[in-house]
């Protein structure tokens, strides 16, 4: 289901972690997802002609987002030109000691996917005009990736640390800061309020089927009244 429905990525990811021992809360959560699906049956991913084949990636993390294990949840969304081509919502494999660390790990996994996309474009003989750009809303994670300072709180971040830093030093990728309010990967890490959710969803190229709306609407309306 999540091949086109990126708006479900986070919620489906979080409920499917409890498949082995579902409780009442999980049942309610699943029902809510299905009710949301019912309201957005005709939603999908739209592709438009975009001028340049540049890669822009948004990376975000929700520090200690899982109450059971205290691991963080990382998410990313990667655009090729204007089109969204890749996204992920995933619980990190280890516990992070700071939000900076969790953002840093998220950046590293995003960078891995960006590199893969870069290889793919190379195989497709697509000229790449600019370096891939990674956007992150945590400044200290960005500083960690560009400066070779070894802070005492970041000593233990080892493998990801060198991987990402080498990429930045070699000029393979650029990392920039983005305001949290424009961080579209937010929807992959936590459940956000309705206005934010709709805003991010539209930024993530999700919309109702345009061919249906041209014909004057369908039976089940895509926009439903807000939940009271």
């Amino acid at each position: 289901m999540t091949i086109t429905r990126l708006d479900l990525a986070h919620s489906v990811n979080s409920v499917s972690q409890y498949l082995h021992a579902p409780t009442d809360d999980h049942f309610q959560a699943v029902k809510r997802i299905l009710r949301y699906v019912k309201g957005t049956l005709h939603y999908g991913l739209s592709f438009t002609a975009s001028s340049l084949a540049t890669i822009t990636a948004y990376s975000d993390a929700d520090w200690a987002g899982c109450p059971d294990t205290r691991r963080s949840i990382s998410g990313y969304s990667i655009y090729l030109g204007d089109n969204l081509v890749s996204w992920s919502a995933k619980k990190q494999p280890t516990v992070s000691r700071s939000s900076c660390e969790s953002e840093y790990r998220a950046l590293a996994s995003t960078a891995a996917e960006v590199l893969w996309l870069d290889h793919l474009l190379h195989d497709l003989h697509v000229p790449r005009p600019a370096r891939p750009l990674l956007l992150c809303d945590n400044k200290s994670a960005i500083f960690l990736s560009s400066n070779s300072v070894s802070h005492k709180r970041s000593k233990h971040i080892d493998l990801d640390y060198h991987f990402l830093r080498e990429l930045v030093v070699a000029g393979r990728i650029r990392i920039q800061h983005v305001l949290s309010t424009l961080q579209v990967a937010d929807v992959f890490t936590k459940s956000v309020s309705r206005p934010l959710f709709t805003f991010f969803r539209s930024k993530l190229r999700m919309c109702s089927n345009p061919m249906l709306s041209l014909r004057g609407g369908v039976g089940d309306s895509p926009e439903s009244p807000p939940d009271s």
Partner: protein
């Protein structure tokens, strides 16, 4: 005495809530059942004809040689699988019989080694679609008929003769498979090998980032090919090159041209004035139908704000229903 079963009178097996607006096709699917095993259809001429047709196709394809049973070999079992194909109004379109090998009786290391076959990543599909839309290239879709039967087996696999069609002259002989058959464990692997070697011969290169993506690049012309088992998506910047390639492909494997991209891997692709729109409306509706939530009240977000699910809490009483829902949502 004529029982109800003899007279063809049965209780409906489908839930009553479906009966009001059930389509002819659904009714046919729910009320008829397909035969299992050779004995059940041995006296039915329609099914026998279907089996003859399948065997003829296999013979034409030179799938096996009939040989005396070699000593100390593992003999793989075989069986018939029967399927009814319906038309959209519920009437029977045709009867289909397939001879399959019992792959579970194959021994690893002896009858098969590698079974892995790559499938295309969803991101790769989206990247290729995005590039095709950007350049305004046409997207077309092909389907390879009987893809598995094209694979050439490297291992010596012996299969028992098909039930009901044992050669009366050599009843003790076995079928030494030359080509893959449905059910053989490495069928997908050898099919992929065969297809990729054909493409490489034509000058395609296999992408290192995704092995199911093939690219032909000569001078200014370029073709992208995505393979998902037996479904193919093609796009290129030069129509004449593409049509000649499709002809070559068709002469090597029997393919079915499905025209421009519309339904691929469960994705519905609609072309819009500005580009392309991908959705899974049918699939979403199927999920809601299976969960019996088709008439539920819609809601605008999929999760309560700032909700963190945890494993704490009382286990849900009706566990089967929850698991069903979770599985539905996860698929």
């Amino acid at each position: 005495m004529v029982t109800r079963a003899k007279a063809g009178i049965f209780q409906p097996r489908y839930p009553t809530y479906l009966s009001q607006h059930v389509s002819g096709l659904l009714h046919a699917l729910l009320t008829t059942s397909e035969p299992r095993g050779f004995k059940t259809v041995a006296k039915n001429p329609a099914w026998l004809a279907a089996m003859d047709e399948e065997l003829n196709a296999l013979r034409e394809n030179c799938t096996w040689d009939l040989v005396p049973q070699p000593p100390k070999t593992n003999i793989v079992g075989s069986k018939w699988v029967f399927r009814m194909k319906y038309q959209s109004d519920g009437s029977i379109d045709r009867l289909k019989a397939r001879l399959v090998a019992k792959g579970y009786t194959q021994l690893p290391g002896l009858d098969y080694t590698d079974t892995f076959s790559p499938v295309v990543k969803a991101s790769t599909v989206r990247v290729v679609l995005s590039l095709a839309i950007t350049h305004g290239w046409p997207l077309c879709q092909l389907d390879v008929k009987n893809a598995f039967l094209h694979g050439i087996l490297q291992e010596h696999v012996c299969m028992e003769q098909s039930p009901g069609y044992v050669d009366p002259r050599f009843p003790q002989h076995v079928c030494k498979l030359k080509k893959a058959l449905y059910g053989i464990k490495q069928a997908l692997h050898v099919w992929f090998q065969r297809f990729s070697s054909f493409l490489l011969k034509l000058g395609f290169t296999c992408s290192r980032a995704d092995t199911s993506l093939f690219v032909l690049h000569c001078q200014q012309q370029i073709i992208y090919l995505l393979l998902y088992v037996d479904d193919i998506i093609l796009t290129d910047n030069n129509n004449s090159l593409l049509s000649s390639f499709i002809r070559q492909l068709h002469s090597e494997f029997a393919t079915k041209d499905l025209g421009s991209l519309s339904y691929f891997l469960g994705l519905e692709a609609t072309s819009t004035p500005t580009g392309l729109f991908l959705s899974q409306t049918k699939y979403a509706r199927d999920i809601l139908t299976r969960a019996q939530l088709l008439d539920c009240k819609p809601i605008s977000t999929p999760m309560v704000v700032a909700q963190h699910l945890s494993s704490a809490g009382s286990p849900f009483a009706d566990i089967t229903r929850t698991v069903l829902l979770l599985v539905l949502c996860n698929t």
